[in-house]
Symmetry: C3
């Protein structure tokens, strides 16, 4: 059994931003030579999400708006306090909570060397506290 | 290592509907002959969900009501516009958002040929934009 | 390929409570001798969650408050009725719904014998209907 673990850097440009990982996922799976197995995709952060939806800019905006509506700015979050370890005020409680609601990982079977995925399923890395440098991970497990 | 990937068709009958996949999951795992590994269950769509909860009709209704309350109809969603590729108005922004909140996949270990699952855990395919023909996927990875 | 499936008991002490599984996860992966593979973590219950967030007590409280705000007590849930099988009234519809929103499982690649995880990622078992005796499962799949 082969296990390929790859880390990918992203520099996000906005506070909230959905970044399409699908083309890279597809090409990595193809390049891996794995014919049969599972691909695991995950974020290494706690103020980001990872989700799957139809790849349309209007839906990207609707997802951002939906999360901001469910977890609004300006509430008396406990995580709005001085963090000694960071040397600054924590102002990103909503980013943490939005990530918790959205989730941060997904998997896809690999069959005959190809990702098993719906035609309209786009895999998104979701920045919720940007802009920042971020890392996402792809593991390809199989043979 | 064996990897079995199977697609299953469902015809849903309602706009929102929870369909119990558990009996089929259990029998597929048993029939696979895999004694030790992992079962992956996922939807191939972006206006459906997949979730695990207690198998009670009243809870099914509560889950539907909860999602409809968190993501109501009739808001000014950006995805409420004419879609050239579909030849019609998109009216299902809430379906996409409800699916994003609920999630669309689950996994279960397989041990001694049996799914490792809580006694009250029922695996549900969740139609959020029906009625439609849908496909869900089961991958059994193991030996 | 090795598959190690372990069940761990927790006795929760509060109605809502986040319990850090990270130290146990790390030591189990190390003790397994698996150098390369995937770790799967899941709850066996339908009124609990499993999530990943930064390991700070104020965020734990914010997550609990957020779920309680999105799914409040005291609404006319259908699952608020006498359950013959339990011999009592069901009063935990919100617990089921909060778990559905949060999710109940996570996975992590294993590389060179170590869990691939962000430095700030803490893995939490989330009691949503305590206090109770609970079980979570770790599967280590690999070689």
């Amino acid at each position: 059994m082969k296990s390929i673990v790859k880390r990918f850097a992203i520099v996000t440009r906005h506070e909230t931003e959905l970044i399409d990982l699908t083309p890279q996922l597809l090409s990595e799976v193809e390049a891996s030579g794995v014919r049969s197995g599972t691909a695991f995709v995950l974020s290494l952060h706690t103020t980001t999400g990872l989700t799957v939806n139809e790849g349309l800019p209007d839906l990207e905006q609707d997802i951002a708006d939906c999360l901001q509506g469910l977890v609004p700015e300006g509430r008396p979050y406990r995580h709005a306090r001085f963090l000694h370890e960071d040397g600054q005020m924590a102002v990103n409680a909503p980013s943490h909570l939005r990530g918790a609601l959205l989730g941060f990982q997904a998997f896809f079977p690999i069959e005959n060397g190809r990702l098993v995925k719906g035609a309209r399923q786009t895999v998104y890395f979701v920045e919720l506290d940007g802009p920042q440098e971020r890392t996402w991970v792809l593991q390809i497990l199989g043979e």
